[in-house]
């Protein structure tokens, strides 16, 4: 069970939002690819920092990972965002 507080905390950081952007562009990336893409787009975070950001995103359920062979692959999971609009429905 992901707490909504974790989702907000995960989304509060601009680099973590950029990671989610990159996973939206291409789902299923290694740490190396995420780091390379962020560098190519002008972000200067270290690999260690990105790794910690991914851990926060995983805790919030916004990123899930699996192994392909021995390599860890990260996927976007937008399900936890549903809890936000369930609590505060979007009205037109």
């Amino acid at each position: 069970m992901v707490r909504v507080g974790d989702v907000f905390r995960a989304l509060a950081d601009p680099t973590r939002r950029l990671i989610l952007d990159e996973l939206t562009l291409r789902d299923g990336q290694t740490l190396f690819e995420i780091c390379s893409r962020l560098i190519a787009h002008g972000n200067t975070s270290t690999r260690q920092a990105i790794s910690q950001h991914l851990a926060v995103l995983e805790e919030a359920g916004l990123v899930v990972s699996h192994r392909s062979g021995r390599t860890k692959i990260h996927h976007l999971n937008t399900q936890p965002l549903r809890s936000i609009t369930e609590r505060w429905p979007v009205t037109d």
């Binding site: 291409r26 990336q29 290694t30 190396f32 560098i39 190519a40 690999r47 392909s68 860890k72 692959i73």
Partner: protein, 130 residues
């Protein structure tokens, strides 16, 4: 003193398997193959430069080498990078031959890169100008 780079290396878990992959899939040519104890001094060269820098396919026998390779592979980090004329074409060709990629061709600033599994314990980047 003016040293020259004549050899570089990747650790591999099996030299015979590595020689097959690096020649048949990546298109390198066998160069040196000399028995050294239970292993071989085994090198390949680029087809464009048979007298150029040699790539040593080095046994990963030392426990630290295995740990190093595992850690890089877990995070998707290539052991080394090779130049190709066209990454997109190379990816298409290799994938058709069953080579597994952890990253498809992706523009990364001035280059296009892709990352493949050499089946010998490494991920390898290939790159061409964007």
């Amino acid at each position: 003193m003016q040293a020259r780079i004549n050899v570089t290396s990747v650790f591999v878990d099996d030299q015979a398997k590595a020689l097959a992959f690096y020649t048949e899939k990546l298109g390198f040519l066998p160069k040196t193959d000399v028995p050294v104890g239970e292993h071989r001094w085994l090198t390949v060269v680029g087809a464009d430069a048979p007298d150029g820098v040699e790539l040593l396919l080095e046994p990963d026998e030392h426990p630290a080498a295995k740990a190093y390779m595992r850690a890089l592979v877990e995070d998707g980090i290539p052991a080394t990078s090779f130049a190709v004329d066209d990454v997109v074409a190379a990816h298409r060709e290799l994938e058709a031959q069953g080579v597994r990629f952890t990253q498809p061709p992706t523009p990364m600033g001035p280059v296009v890169t892709a990352v493949l599994d050499d089946t010998c314990g490494n991920l390898i980047m290939i790159a061409s100008p964007a």
